[in-house]
């Protein structure tokens, strides 16, 4: 299906006698977007206007407009994010899958309407299928049902899984998945618990 934006952009280019792909134009759009954003939002609860400031990863992914990334940009994003992952100092990569399940079900956290003193959830079920018994799951991400059963529970798998939850962009540039550790959405312990939910043989994910 053709993207409307692209088609329209061509039509509009003629109208405005401006190109859609020139660097100056992209820069203009970024500048006018930033100006509009700052004038259109007010701080509320825990969400200040600083949330509108993009980091490099967000800027590069925005510029891609949903199109496939050039390989060099993808590699740049992944290596920059890989460097941010902090593995647990105690060497334990997994926690309690029962707590992980609650974190996976919980959608609150970081919204201006949320109480900032409570822990945030990961809302995994919003996008992923996990346990077989929870039918209310989303499909924005792949099914993670039997994630551990299919991959085993080796230290290597634990390390990848912890890292993926900590910073998804390290493994897939411009992934739709939040960077739960890097952006301090989840604590280290919470990431361990969600890792356990995915890998523990007793977890409902692996039944």
């Amino acid at each position: 299906m053709p993207r409307l934006g692209n088609c329209l952009c061509l039509a509009l280019s003629a109208l405005l006698a401006g190109g859609c792909t020139t660097a100056t134009h992209e820069g203009d759009v970024a500048a006018s977007t930033a100006a509009a954003l700052n004038a259109s939002f007010v701080p509320a609860g825990q969400a200040g206007l600083d949330r509108l400031q993009q980091d490099d990863t967000q800027r590069w992914c925005t510029a891609a407009h949903g199109r496939p990334l050039p390989q060099d940009v993808a590699a740049k994003i992944e290596s920059a994010n890989l460097a941010t992952i902090r593995y647990p100092a105690d060497g334990h990569l997994t926690g309690d899958w029962r707590k992980g399940e609650r974190i996976a079900q919980e959608g609150r956290g970081k919204q201006f309407s949320d109480d900032p003193s409570g822990p945030a959830g990961a809302n995994c079920y919003a996008c992923h299928r996990l346990s077989a018994t929870e039918l209310s799951f989303g499909t924005l991400g792949p099914s993670l049902y039997q994630y551990g059963k299919l991959r085993g529970n080796s230290v290597g798998v634990q390390r990848y899984t912890f890292g993926k939850i900590y910073n998804s962009e390290a493994f897939a540039a411009c992934s739709n998945m939040p960077r739960f550790g890097y952006k301090a959405i989840l604590s280290e312990q919470q990431i361990k618990d969600v890792t356990a939910l995915l890998l523990d043989p007793a977890s409902p994910v692996n039944q």
């Binding site: 409307l4 329209l8 006018s32 509009a36 259109s40 969400a47 992914c61």
Partner: protein
């Protein structure tokens, strides 16, 4: 392996019991939604909104029947399907709510603060006049063809800004509108997500707002839909009638051009 076995294996691969359960769940939920469409409490807001539209109100005791929604003073029929648009008197692109605020201030003599006092109902006793007015005006476009213009440069500017904003990733969760609404056939939990980058997706979404929101017992406007999407995106609070609100509305309304407007609807 004979053909029958092969076919069985193939079926087994795709038709897992959970997939079947999921389909059955979706079918039953589709029936539930169809049942709710029949008698939509949004009508209560439409009726209230019509009363507010006709009533002489504000310091100047004037009714909104002198408000020009783009098709001439007091013309409501079909107006919503042609918004947002550029209004020369305001020298700005306005969506319906922004235009209503403008008329409440310029015509009826309310202060900006008074007009903006309650953009959205609180889910309890305190209902919003603006939501009721929007429900009424939108209901008068039911069956109209979406026909949003890009003739004026400011309309073009709003559309382009809307498109840029649609892909703008930021906040604690790196979310953009496109995160949830950029692909076909996706779901969040059990809710289907329209792909708003396609004409079909934009039409399906835009032509069914405003809508009675079952989970809140409130009539919600498209401005509210944007406001609450940004809340869930972990952004700060979107200002009603702001450039961002109007630009995104313009992007989606224009992408829905040609579709038949069919709101107020009813949603989860």
């Amino acid at each position: 392996m004979n053909v029958a076995h092969g076919l069985f294996a193939l079926l087994a691969l795709f038709v897992t019991p959970v997939a079947l359960a999921q389909d059955a769940t979706s079918d039953e939920i589709a029936k539930y939604r169809a049942e709710l469409q029949k008698d939509n409490p949004a009508e209560l807001w439409e009726t209230r909104g019509e009363g507010i539209w006709q009533e002489k109100r504000g310091p100047r005791q004037v009714s909104l029947q002198r408000c020009d929604l783009g098709l001439g003073e007091g013309v409501v029929k079909g107006a919503y399907a042609r918004l947002p648009r550029y209004f020369p008197d305001a020298d700005r692109v306005q969506d319906l709510e922004t235009r209503l605020l403008w008329c409440m201030v310029r015509l009826q003599g309310y202060t900006e603060a008074e007009a903006r006092r309650q953009p959205f109902g609180d889910g309890n006793e305190h209902k919003s006049d603006l939501e009721a007015l929007t429900a009424y005006v939108a209901s008068q476009s039911r069956g109209s063809t979406m026909e949003v213009s890009l003739r004026h440069p400011k309309e073009v500017e709003a559309y382009r800004l809307g498109e840029a904003l649609f892909f703008f990733r930021a906040g604690t969760h790196d979310f953009a509108c496109a995160t949830c609404h950029g692909e076909d056939g996706k779901r969040i939990r059990l809710q289907d997500l329209p792909n708003l980058t396609t004409a079909e997706g934009a039409a399906k979404a835009y032509t069914t707002w405003p809508a009675y929101r079952v989970s809140q017992g409130e009539l919600r406007t498209f401005e509210w839909r944007l406001y609450d999407c940004f809340r869930q995106q972990r952004f700060p609070e979107l200002v009603l009638g702001s450039d961002v609100a109007i630009a995104l509305t313009m992007y989606l309304a224009r992408n829905a051009n040609g579709a038949t407007f069919d709101a107020p609807g009813i949603k989860r």
